[in-house]
């Protein structure tokens, strides 16, 4: 508060100076012979009180939460402060210069002038403060907007990364690199599979819900590449059941990251053959996708490399406003991920 007062205080001294000037010239305009002592006490008290009142106004106005009726609020505050200032100044003066009868009579005569002057002064201060506050708020809004733009851009980047998955791409290219030397025909096949996968990735939108059959095709193209990369070690078993399961819809980029997770957990935990089971069934208006992979508790893969189950859980919560759609189970060296998608 003090900082902003210092920052915007440059405009405040003007009304205060005018006000003090007004108080100081009052005795002269009414033609009385005021003693220097009484006059300086009068000025001093008003100066102290008007500065305190300005601080008070600044503090109250800055804490006013909205723009609605902000000016009215400030005006009212200025009015109340002016009355308070007037009353308190009067009290002080009556006690401090009780023996200067002439000056006291002069104060009584100029009561209305004093009240109007303090109201004008504090009203001015209050309005400067309101204007400054509005300016600050606008500035904040602009910054907020900029933040929003940045986070939007980040979300977009995330999408791109999800679509392209650089590590997956680099590793696949490395496999192709090897195949070009060892088995050019297989290399060609792999290029085809990789292009299929990329094409399907780039086409989709994060927000879009897609048909489960379409998602399975996408996953198949992904698994085809993984099978080439890891050779015979990777086996996938997929079972679907339930009426009309193929008509079910699922948000994009949910299943593939879970499967990627399962493959990595499976492959990193074992050196032998790894069987990943995918079970899809539709019941009670819920599409259940159950993905199972072998898992070794002692050899968890290093984290922080795209094992984004938390991210998926967050997305499901945002899309369906339910927090119970992703379930994870670890039992007897089997890791299961269960996703439920309301239809």
């Amino acid at each position: 508060m003090l900082k902003s007062f210092v920052k915007y205080g440059r405009l405040i001294p003007l009304p205060i100076l005018l006000f003090i000037f007004g108080i100081a010239t009052l005795p002269f305009s009414s033609g009385i012979d005021a003693t220097w002592k009484s006059l300086s006490i009068d000025i001093g008290i008003h100066l102290i009180l008007v500065v305190i009142a300005s601080f008070f106004l600044e503090w109250r106005i800055r804490r006013y939460p909205t723009k609605v009726l902000a000016t009215a609020h400030a005006t009212l505050l200025a009015f109340i402060s002016a009355i308070l200032l007037f009353v308190i100044a009067d009290l002080f003066l009556c006690t401090l210069i009780f023996n200067d009868k002439i000056y006291l009579a002069h104060i009584d005569d100029t009561e209305s002038m004093r009240l109007i002057m303090s109201w004008l002064c504090l009203g001015w201060v209050a309005h400067i403060t309101v204007l400054r506050k509005h300016q600050d708020d606008n500035q904040k809004e602009i910054e907020l907007h900029q933040h929003a733009v940045i986070s939007l851009r980040e979300a977009e980047l995330f999408r791109l990364r999800q679509q392209l998955q650089p590590h997956f791409l680099y590793n696949s290219l490395n496999s192709i690199n090897a195949l070009i030397q060892l088995d050019p025909e297989k290399a060609q096949e792999m290029v085809g599979k990789l292009s299929d996968f990329l094409r399907l990735s780039v086409k989709r939108d994060v927000e879009e819900s897609i048909n489960i059959q379409e998602e399975l095709n996408y996953i198949e193209s992904y698994l085809a590449i993984e099978s080439v990369r890891f050779g015979n070690r990777l086996k996938i078993e997929s079972v679907q059941s339930g009426e009309d399961w193929e008509k079910a819809k699922i948000p994009a980029f949910i299943l593939q990251p879970i499967l990627e997770n399962a493959i990595k957990f499976g492959l990193y935990g074992n050196t032998g053959e790894v069987v990943i089971k995918i079970n899809i069934n539709l019941r009670d208006k819920l599409l259940h996708v159950h993905i199972e992979n072998p898992f070794d508790a002692t050899t968890q893969p290093p984290r922080g490399t795209g094992f984004g189950l938390e991210g998926i859980s967050r997305r499901l919560t945002i899309i369906f406003a339910r927090a119970d759609l992703l379930e994870i189970k670890k039992q007897d060296n089997i890791f299961s991920t269960i996703v439920k998608i309301p239809q």
């Binding site: 490395n174 050779g231 984290r303």
Partner: protein, 245 residues
């Protein structure tokens, strides 16, 4: 003649390196391994001069493998992850090949090998663990156990004791020595779970059964496993703040 072992979990990635190495008759591939465990055995058997090492692999990763070796051979990392490059050079790796590996880049790496003597390239391996290779804390410690590699999950640790240049990790299956300092180990384990109760002791908070006063300014912690370990004054403060006493 340099003896080479190629370590990568993807068969095609290994084939590529082996194929590329064929143009260099003074490099002989003595073995290829799909994971760190096999690599560990193979390295002890063949005593190679150079490793082509992937970082992300099954069971234990490339860095963990190097940590287990008393005299690590020279290393060329091969990985799709550029995040580890800095780390790799910190431990004086000969080179860091990013996948997809190209002939041109590969040749440069081999030239580097031929220009520098391949022995004792890796100096700072024991400090490897000190800096965090992963994001966050580790949930396991990899140790050598009679010529084999053993992975100890953090929750199975009873306590860890400093022992000269080594630390003694005590679990219900026995105790294991690892060449490292207690301070380094303390850094990589989750401070919400492990507390340094004494200059020589690090213990998981879950193992604590009771604390008894012992002499002036010191205490004794009784663990669930029955072991009693000393708690220093500073250790007591840390223990208290962790237990919110």
């Amino acid at each position: 003649m340099y003896k080479v072992i190629v370590i990568d979990d993807e068969p095609l990635a290994r084939s590529l390196i082996i194929k590329l190495l064929q143009s260099y008759p003074n490099f002989e591939v003595v073995d290829e391994c799909p994971d760190g465990f096999e690599a560990f055995k193979s390295i002890q058997k063949h005593n190679p001069d150079l490793l082509f090492l992937d970082i992300q692999m099954p069971r234990i990763n490339g860095f963990e493998l190097l940590e287990m070796l008393d005299k690590p051979p020279a290393v060329i990392f091969t990985t799709a992850f550029d995040e580890y490059a800095l780390k790799a050079f910190e431990i004086h790796a000969v080179d860091y090949l990013l996948k997809p590996v190209t002939r041109e880049r590969f040749d440069k790496a081999i030239q580097k090998c031929q220009h520098q003597a391949l022995s004792n390239n890796i100096e700072a391996v024991s400090n490897l663990i000190e800096d965090q290779v992963y994001e966050g804390y580790q949930h396991r410690i990899v140790v050598k156990d009679r010529g084999n590699i053993r992975i100890i999950p953090a929750e199975e640790i009873h306590y860890i004791e400093a022992n000269d240049d080594y630390v003694k990790i005590v679990t219900k299956e026995g105790s294991f020595l690892k060449k490292n300092t207690l301070t380094n180990i303390e850094k990589i384990l989750d401070p919400n779970l492990f507390v340094r109760v004494h200059r020589s002791y690090l213990m998981p908070i879950s193992q604590l059964q009771s604390i008894e006063p012992y002499e002036k300014n010191s205490h004794i912690a009784l663990l669930h496993c029955g072991m009693k370990i000393s708690v220093s004054q500073a250790g007591m403060t840390r223990l208290k703040s962790l237990l919110r006493l």
